[in-house]
């Protein structure tokens, strides 16, 4: 083969000769290596959440009774004024989806941060100090894990009211046991490492040891666990909102939109379906992203490639 042919031969052709299946070039290969689609969905969510007030075409709280149950654009009777249709009191569904994304993203961020943060702290403490403190913490975690979560959630909402802080507390408690167990297990194993022993011999105080030496070893797992619990937090928040125990009205919430749209499944099926699809997409993106993170960053799964 001439040099020109070799040089001019596209990488695609070379790959085809080797039997690889993607003739589209190296960009596709790069895209395959990283979780581009899930990350794109999640970025879209964050973008929508942050820029919601500027993105909404119509005020999501304004009901226009003339536009009740308008079909989405593209269907008969649909108008471009309501791209995804109107709900049962005439509010624009697209705007409510956007604002719902904002509320969901905020709730998720706060809950995951709180839950995983608290769980990590307790896991570190339990794992490092051991003994009765460890027993106590693990008993609390086990007892909490034995309770049916949704019942406790419902009871709390009935008694404490349907407020944001109740929701944050509940969702933080959802991911908390997993984080505690994970961090504690890893701390137990890291505790035996040499560098921890050296630090102790050098006279470092326990908080310093934990923060400077143990925590960096645990942080990988924490990030992976937080991302993976994102999916279940969204699902739980949607379920609670659906039951009327989640995001307080009148804030738009995807779960609540589905609940309200249930009655109109026969005629205005889009009111309930569109939020459902959104929930599905976000949860799937979160799960895939978390899986990829775990495959790449979980130290326990490290293999020689």
């Amino acid at each position: 083969m001439t040099e020109a042919a070799i040089a001019a031969g596209s990488r695609g052709a070379a790959r085809r000769r080797k039997g690889r299946l993607s003739p589209l070039g190296s960009l596709w290969d790069v895209a395959r290596r990283y979780p581009t689609l899930p990350a794109a969905v999640l970025l879209l969510l964050v973008f929508t959440a942050v820029f919601a007030p500027w993105l909404v075409p119509v005020d999501p709280f304004k009901s226009d009774l003339l536009a009740r149950n308008t079909p989405p654009w593209g269907f008969p009777d649909g108008s471009s004024k309501h791209l995804l249709g109107g709900d049962q009191v005439g509010r624009d569904i697209l705007s409510r989806i956007i604002y719902g994304a904002r509320v969901s993203a905020m709730v998720m961020a706060v809950s995951v941060a709180t839950g995983v943060g608290l769980g990590t702290t307790m896991g570190l403490v339990a794992g490092y100090f051991g003994g009765q403190l460890d027993e106590f913490i693990m008993s609390v975690v086990n007892i909490w894990a034995a309770l049916p979560y949704i019942m406790v959630a419902l009871v709390m909402v009935v008694l404490l009211g349907q407020k944001f802080w109740v929701l944050f507390l509940l969702l933080a408690l959802l991911s908390w046991p997993g984080a505690v167990r994970l961090v504690r297990a890893e701390t137990l194993s890291l505790k035996t490492r040499d560098y921890v022993a050296f630090a102790r011999v050098a006279g470092a105080s326990p908080p310093r040891i934990i923060l400077r030496h143990v925590l960096p070893g645990v942080i990988n797992l924490v990030v992976v666990s937080a991302t993976l619990s994102m999916g279940s937090i969204i699902l739980t928040e949607a379920t609670l909102s659906f039951l009327g125990a989640g995001i307080p009205p009148p804030n738009p919430s995807w779960g609540a939109m589905i609940s309200e749209g249930r009655r109109y499944l026969n005629d205005a099926w889009w009111v309930a379906s569109i939020p459902g699809v959104c929930i599905f997409l976000v949860v799937m993106a979160g799960n895939f992203f978390g899986d990829w993170l775990r495959d790449h960053f979980d130290p326990r799964l490290r293999q020689l490639r």
Binding site: S139, N142, L147, P148, M151, V158, L160, F242, S273, G276
Partner: protein, 316 residues
């Protein structure tokens, strides 16, 4: 072994006490006088005398531990209080609905195992083929689509568009007109998530076992392929799904609440969901009690079974 069992039982009891304490304690600690829960609209129209009498009835004049002990005593006698919205004893309402929930949960669980486990086996045995992707796609949907979305989509597709499957009849008691077909949609909606879990678990276990030495030995000996799958691989991979069933159970409780609400199924879950709207605290407390006891009982039982079945585990 014995200490392990005792320990597990103690944990179970602690969970029951913990759950009920949460319910009880929250109602006292939330700062609202529980009498306000019994008289909506800020007790308008109640005479001072009635107020006092209710206070004595609810034992509000006694210290908190005594209150809790008295409530617990009532529970053991079968008295769970009176529903605020329906003015009927909570125990009676729960007792009436509990069998319905049990029926739905059983059918859903059957669906989960009968579909999930074979799919998992198929997916493992035919790894990488279209069957594998089909199975994994099924599992993915089951885990990402929330139960209530699956239920609503089911209603949309089958009942509204195809006019095929009927919805559950919104009657208070079952038995009049309930047929197998009424179970289909709710059981599928409820059982999809468990089916997904079983499928993934079975697939992983099977893949591990299929790669193991003794399977290779059996194949080398010349044992027929299907016999190898069934006799050797399958039975050894069943331990994990058994433990999984315990974890599954708590998911069922959540799923029941949602599924029963969508399909107007006359069960405990819907009772609990309605109680949230109606601020019916005694019903919620009773439902919580039932669920906690059930969950603790089932996990304890499964732990015992698992401890006996798996010879590799030794408990000191």
């Amino acid at each position: 072994m014995r200490t392990f069992l005792i320990r597990r039982t103690l944990y179970g009891l602690a969970a029951i006490i913990g759950g009920t304490l949460i319910v009880f304690g929250l109602s006292r600690a939330s700062g609202i006088d529980p009498r306000f829960l019994y008289f909506p609209e800020a007790s308008y129209g109640t005479s001072g005398d009635q107020w006092e009498r209710l206070g004595r009835e609810l034992n509000l004049d006694k210290p908190f531990p005594v209150q809790y002990a008295l409530w617990l005593g009532g529970v053991l006698r079968g008295d769970l209080g009176q529903s605020l919205t329906a003015q009927r004893p909570v125990a009676e309402m729960l007792g009436q609905r509990f069998p319905n929930t049990l029926k739905l949960a059983s059918v859903a669980w059957l669906f989960g195992t009968c579909l999930g486990v074979p799919l998992g086996v198929l997916s493992a045995v035919k790894r990488g083929t279209a069957w594998d992707y089909l199975g994994r796609g099924f599992a993915l949907l089951g885990q990402t689509v929330p139960t209530f979305v699956a239920g609503i989509m089911g209603i949309l597709i089958f009942s509204v568009q195809l006019k095929d499957t009927p919805l559950a009849l919104p009657s208070g008691t079952m038995g009049e007109g309930f047929a197998i077909k009424h179970y289909v949609l709710p059981a599928v909606a409820l059982g999809w998530l468990p089916a997904a879990g079983y499928m993934r678990l079975t697939r992983t276990s099977m893949l591990e076992v299929l790669d193991s030495e003794f399977v290779k030995l059996a194949r080398a000996k010349g044992v027929a392929y299907w016999k190898v799958i069934w006799k050797h691989a399958f039975r050894n991979s069943m331990l994990a799904p058994i433990t999984f069933s315990a974890l599954l159970f708590v998911g069922f409780i959540t799923g029941t609440v949602v599924t029963e609400t969508i399909f107007s199924w006359p069960g405990v879950g819907r009772l609990a969901a309605d109680a949230v709207f109606g601020n019916d605290f005694p019903v919620l407390a009773g439902a919580m009690l039932i669920f906690v006891v059930m969950y603790v009982g089932v996990t304890l039982l499964l732990d015992i079974v698992y401890a006996y079945v798996d010879p590799r585990i030794s408990h000191g």
